[in-house]
Amino acid sequence: MSGEAILSVSKLSKSFGGLRALVDVSFEVKRGEIFGIIGPNGSGKTTLINCITGFLKPDGGKVYFKEKDITGLKPHKISQMGIARTFQIMRPYYSLPAYKNLIIPLWSPRAKRLGGWRGGGRHGDRDTVAVDILEEIGFERDSRVPYKLASTLPTGYQKRLELARCIALRPEIIFCDEVFSGLSMSEVAGMIPLIEKMKMEGITLIMVEHRLRELFKVADRVMALNFGEKIAEGDPREVIEDRRVREAYLGREGV
């Protein structure tokens, strides 16, 4: 671990009316690590992602990406800088074939700049890059799967497509909002190598997850949220042993 903080969040807070969804949440993520965010339902995990990626404006606090203040910037500006995200509710571009789904991120200025293929070309170039990325993420190139309409793909492939859409942007950080949820055990087993591969390529991953067992297999550090507050942070094993985390998940009686 290099130890350099790629993302640092300080005292981020957000309220919806009277509900305090985030209360002074601070944390740092180091370059190249897999950082997990856990917490029971409604603990503010997705709100945290939305505030960092610009989909929601935080009420207070700061977000720094590579020591640059990105608090409250527009979502497209933030993703242009190299912060990609998946969505908890998968919504591929239904009317397009799977590989055409990647044309949209590939069309963005960032992908054009970093893509390494000839810009301005007609279909050929971008389509090839799109199918390459899909193959990397587990779509069998020689099957018909990459060419199927996105709406007809099974859940596992749709989740992969979400990730592929992020990768196409050539990001430095990917926020994964529950990529394991709704997948079968074997599908999750197929996803884990992909995540490790992305880490090997130097992408920092921040994973919001409900499925703790699978998350702990890959995560370097985790942070636990409850009612919008940070209750624990550190090594996955330590965090899950933490009394407050157990209380949050199981209730006071259960501990």
Partner: protein, 336 residues
């Protein structure tokens, strides 16, 4: 009892024309370009066919003008996800702009139409700008409101000719120029938009319709994409309005009338949304129909509504989608 179910199977010819094999024989080539060729030739020949009925020749022009507005509606609603209830905004702005250029600045017709198309589209995009960063019904409402607003302003302030409109606009020098001045641009815009939505940039537009959040997360400014889309759609609408103003040699409040908003939408419903060619076919049915129904007097609207309702009940997918299916697939009954 035996249960039967309809099964649809692609025609072998359709499968054979996918990819490079499409050019393997004359049959495949014809299968692909035949319908398009027939359509284009049919439209180009319309003025000659109606040579015998001078009254109907004008209807051909009106038909094409409505078709252009309908294409712009289909493009915005089915490829960008912006429901535009105000085709009349585009036609009205285009019509009045060309009238101003032609009458007040005495630009010749071949200058005033393109100028009105461009500046009118710019104007429409500017006034619609406030609604573009928002999601939801705001765009639909604001487009519905603007034509009413502008016609009320002209009426109340008695500017631009007031209720009488601007008269004495230069007409087309020749009836044939008049025909092809709308037919050719209509065909151009039809095929250009069809091409556009399948290009890479067109896919981005379609992405905005399917899931604008993901487009945002892909580092693309969605508002800017919507601005481009509205500009393209207004180009078509403003051209149509400018053309109508020159055809009738008059720009009046009726250019802002509800007809220009409603008939294009109805045409898209009848012709099949998302096909771009469907709206053209739809307006080729609806506009002549409303001309024929003029004889029915006040009952016109009633009959018109009944026809529309029947279409929605019986062929809600739209004519074009139905025809495409029949062309590409055959059906057979199979046991369940």
């Amino acid at each position: 009892m035996e249960q039967l179910r309809k099964e649809r199977v692609d025609r072998s010819l359709k499968v054979r024309t996918e990819g490079l094999y499409a050019i393997s024989s004359i049959e495949e080539i014809l299968y692909l370009i035949g319908p398009r060729l027939l359509f284009v030739a049919g439209i180009l020949l319309l003025p000659l066919i109606f040579e015998a009925a001078p009254y109907w020749k004008r209807v051909v022009n009106v038909m094409c003008a409505y078709a252009l507005v309908a294409i712009s509606f289909d493009f915005l609603s089915n490829f960008v996800g912006l429901v535009c209830l105000g085709g009349a905004l585009f036609t009205g702005v285009g019509g009045y702009f060309t009238a101003i250029y032609n009458r007040y600045f005495s630009f010749p017709i071949y200058l005033s139409i393109p100028l009105a198309t461009l500046s009118g589209a710019l104007f429409c995009t500017l006034v619609l700008l406030p609604a573009l960063p928002l999601r939801g019904v705001y765009f639909a409402i604001i487009t519905l409101m603007y034509p009413l607003l502008f016609s009320r302003i002209i009426e109340a302030l008695n500017v631009l000719g007031g209720t009488n409109g601007i008269t004495g606009i230069e007409s087309f020098p020749d009836p044939y120029i008049e025909h092809y001045a709308i037919i050719l641009p209509m065909l151009f815009f039809l095929f250009a938009t069809r091409r556009f939505v399948n290009e890479d940039i067109g896919l981005v537009f379609r992405g905005v319709k399917d899931n604008d959040q993901a487009v945002r997360a892909s580092g693309i400014n969605v508002t800017l994409i919507k601005v481009y889309a509205v500009f393209i759609a207004s180009l078509m609408g403003c051209f149509s309005g400018a053309y109508i103003a020159h055809m009738y040699m008059w720009a009046g409040l009726s250019l802002f009338a509800l007809d220009f908003s409603v008939i294009p939408i109805a045409s898209t419903v009848i012709g099949g949304g998302g096909t771009l060619i469907g709206p053209v076919i739809g307006s080729f049915i609806l506009v002549p129909l409303s001309e024929i129904l003029r004889a029915a007097g006040t009952l016109r609207i009633v009959i018109y509504c009944v026809v529309l309702t029947l279409f929605i009940i019986l062929k809600s997918e739209g004519l074009m989608i139905y025809l495409q299916r029949k062309y590409h697939q055959f059906e057979r009954w199979v046991k369940v």
